[in-house]
């Protein structure tokens, strides 16, 4: 009897080819797309753009038809709103810079969607992430490695996966380069072969997250002061949600040397700026740790730490701290360590685990 895989399809080239690869590997494949938008929008509203929009559903359905697999749209609008969008907005209002993909993976995709997959008798849930998952017999654990195509590696957004989740998940693309996947899509005649890669935040199609937050929680965004490290007021800001650590543009302050956002203070609604060197940090504190390689971290660990999706992993020493936190000390100071983002730890291509940055030090 064939094993059944529930393939999470976004309508993009990656998950489309992933579905095809699973079929080639001999699995029975059922395609699903999470519907993340509100069905009860006013008449005439165009739902476009983003990874799970109507047009994405059209693309995914067309691919499923081409591949000859069943395809369902699962309405997950309410939990997505509650678990991802509310979190996203709240984090910004708290002066942090969240990564919604990580929380979506943790709380929606590999939680609720995984449950749906099980309810459809799926042996596995599969996604189009560029990451490799395997079982390490020696450790007796499932492990995660970076995708072969390091320029597309998505392990950063998957460090939160638990052993039960990994046991039930397949990542068909981990061993391929993006170029090979596009080629494969063209070979299969998939209409999404040349579709551009999806952009950042799927539920903010125009990428104007600031306006999105202002619309989502009207009145929550208030202008305030921009101050220097001594507390001197240098200017005004448009609301702390519009700023992130290390940001230079859009401050609107005339100063002899360039100024950068160094700290965001939600309590006083202040943006603290400083010179270029002030946004380099020796280390960070992280909480909400998840370890893939072990149940828990015992003792210090030398690893490479990656502090944002687009950053390269850099050498660091990781020290467990009381309260389930870790202190991370970089070999050389790193620019723009940003609370709310994740720090993910690697040894070469092996994903050790990671956590959420609470503070730069």
């Amino acid at each position: 009897m064939k094993q059944r895989v529930i393939m999470a399809m976004s309508g993009g080239v990656d998950s489309s080819v992933a579905a095809a690869l699973l079929l080639e590997e001999g699995y029975e494949v059922i395609g699903v797309t999470m519907q993340l938008w509100d069905n009860d929008l006013p008449y005439g509203t165009e739902v476009e753009g983003g990874c799970c929009s109507l047009s994405a559903v059209d693309d995914a359905r067309a691919v499923a038809n081409t591949l000859g697999i069943p395809y369902y749209v699962l309405n997950m609008h309410a939990p997505f709103r509650e678990k991802v969008i509310d979190y996203f907005v709240d984090e910004y209002l708290q002066g942090r810079t969240p990564n919604p993909c990580i929380v979506c993976n943790k709380s929606v995709k590999f939680d609720l969607l995984l449950e749906k997959a099980a309810s459809l008798d799926g042996d596995f849930l599969a996604t189009g992430h560029y990451v490799r998952r395997s079982f390490d017999a020696e450790r007796g654990r499932f492990i995660l490695r970076r995708g072969v195509d390091l320029s597309k590696d998505q392990s950063y957004v998957l460090y939160g996966m638990t052993q039960p989740q990994l046991a039930k998940t397949l990542f068909p693309l981990g061993g391929y380069t993006k170029a090979a996947i596009r080629e494969k899509a063209a070979e299969l005649g998939l209409r999404v072969a040349s579709k551009p890669d999806s952009q950042e935040i799927c539920f903010v199609p125009d990428q104007d997250y600031g306006r999105f937050i202002e619309d989502y929680q009207p009145g929550s965004v208030q202008p305030g002061n921009i101050v220097d490290e001594s507390g001197k007021v240098l200017g005004r800001h448009r609301g702390i949600i519009h700023y992130t650590i290390g940001q230079r543009k859009g401050l609107g302050i005339a100063a002899p040397e360039p100024l950068f956002v160094k700290e965001i203070r939600p309590d006083t609604n202040e943006i603290v700026v400083g010179p270029a060197e002030s946004v380099f940090f020796k280390g960070l504190l992280a909480n909400e740790l998840n370890w893939i390689l072990w149940d828990d971290l015992n003792g210090e660990l030398e690893a490479q730490a990656k502090i944002r999706y687009s950053a390269q992993p850099v050498p660091a020493l990781i020290k467990p701290e009381p309260g389930g936190r870790v202190r991370v000390e970089f070999e050389t100071p790193q620019r723009a360590v940003t609370p709310g983002q994740a720090v993910v730890f690697y040894q070469q291509d092996l994903v050790l685990g990671g956590g959420t940055i609470v503070q730069a030090i």
């Binding site: 008449y43 609008h77 309410a78 749906k116 309810s119 459809l120 008798d121």
Partner: protein, 402 residues
């Protein structure tokens, strides 16, 4: 997955071969524009007018010109509500409907509310019935129209349309009924029902999709939705869908000629299915009135599970059913109909609509019953709600244990 089983006749039905046969000449052979004066036009015009006569006769209309062909049941509903509202706006701007109407009526009412009309949404009882006295209580001097569906598309409950119609007739209030679920399924006669407007859709009674009709009693003013030509006596512009119209009439004639035998057989099959589900399964509730319901409709709520998961599992076993209206299936939002009859959100989530048609057999129901409990048990085993059942109190009122 072997044979597939179709249990979703309330969503749509397949075109009867005899209907198809009647339609075929009107695609390539007999294709003239019915508005043309030449012989090509005359022959299609003849076909349309014959179809109009048939439909009028089948629903007891006084004259063929009370039948207006449209593009769908939804269009007929829209035309009835918007058309009457606009035509009588100087007389009054109040409309009464029920809280469990199809969205074609509800959303049109919402549109009218945004455009200066007041709408009263009548509550229904736990069986989904509208009580005629509530209609009377809601009347105001401003009331121009009442619209109550003949039978509900989700739970199958048949409303006391004739009784409501009689009360409204005595008071000179226009009365529309959305009869999309009943035409061709149970007897529908506009005189007996005391209605002034009635909507139908061909594809619900083995006719083609994309064709509907609206009965408008002579003398009732209805403004058009579509402008641009004199078709349908100036009330619906656009070259007629001749094959569709011919198909609608043929399908209605066929359905009505076998109505009693089909109704009896399907009702018996439905009751067999309902009895088996209620007697063999736990934590399940039948939604809608036990007897005042559409012959083919069975609607259940299974506690602790989501209708969506149930449907997908059935589909993977080759069984086509629905969680409610086809227009909202795949939606996690609980149905307004189930909430309207007083179900709590959790119970409303776990609903399943099985709608039987003339092709279904006892063997199919037996096969269904051989897979349904298995799927429900599996989904319940995954549900934390099921495991917490003993501590569960708040939902007890709307749930019936066997």
């Amino acid at each position: 997955m072997g044979e597939r089983i179709y249990f979703d006749h309330a969503a749509t039905t397949g075109v009867d071969p005899k209907v198809l046969e009647a339609m075929i000449p009107y695609f390539s052979q007999t294709f003239g524009n019915p508005s043309s004066i030449h012989s090509f036009g005359r022959e299609t015009r003849k076909a349309i007018e014959e179809a109009r006569q048939i439909v009028a006769a089948e629903i007891g209309a006084a004259a063929p010109n009370e039948i207006y062909f449209t593009g769908s049941g939804s269009e007929s509903d829209n035309m009835a509500l918007r058309g009457v509202a606009e035509a009588y706006r100087d007389k009054g701007r109040h409309i009464i409907t029920s809280s469990i109407e199809h969205h074609a009526v509800l959303d049109t009412c919402h549109y009218l509310e945004k455009n200066g009309y007041k709408v009263t949404y009548l509550p229904v009882d736990s069986d989904g019935l509208v009580h005629p006295e509530t209609v009377l209580d809601a009347l105001t001097p401003e009331t121009i129209l009442v619209s109550i569906m003949h039978a509900n598309n989700e739970i199958g409950t048949i409303q006391p349309i004739a009784e409501i119609g009689k009360l409204l007739k005595e008071r000179n209030i226009l009365f529309h009924t959305d009869a999309v679920q009943t035409v061709g399924t149970i007897p529908v006669n506009v005189q007996d029902l005391n209605v002034d407007l009635l909507s139908m859709a061909a594809h619900k009674f083995y006719g083609p999709k994309g064709t509907g009709a609206l009965y408008i009693r002579r003398g009732v003013k209805v403004n058009p939705l579509i402008y641009g030509g004199a078709q349908e006596r100036n009330r619906r512009a656009g070259t007629e869908n001749i094959a569709g119209i011919v198909g609608l009439a043929k399908a209605l004639q066929l359905a009505n000629s076998h109505l009693e035998e089909n109704r009896a057989r399907i009702t018996e099959l439905r009751d067999y299915l309902i009895d088996r589900v209620l007697s063999e399964m736990d934590y399940v509730r039948l939604n809608g009135h036990r007897t005042k319901r559409l012959p083919g409709n069975a609607n259940f709520s299974f506690d602790f599970i989501e209708g969506e998961s149930l449907l997908l599992n059935l589909d993977l076993k080759g069984i086509a059913a629905s969680s409610g209206s086809a227009c909202t299936s795949g939606s996690l939002e609980p149905s307004h109909v189930l909430l309207g009859i007083g179900l709590c959100h959790e119970t409303a989530h776990g609903s399943l609509r099985v709608s039987l048609g003339k092709g279904n057999t006892r063997e199919e129901v037996d096969y269904f019953m051989s897979v349904l409990p298995e799927i429900v048990n599996k989904l319940r085993a995954m549900s934390p709600l099921y495991h917490a059942e003993t501590e569960r109190k708040e939902c007890a009122s709307c749930t019936r244990k066997r």
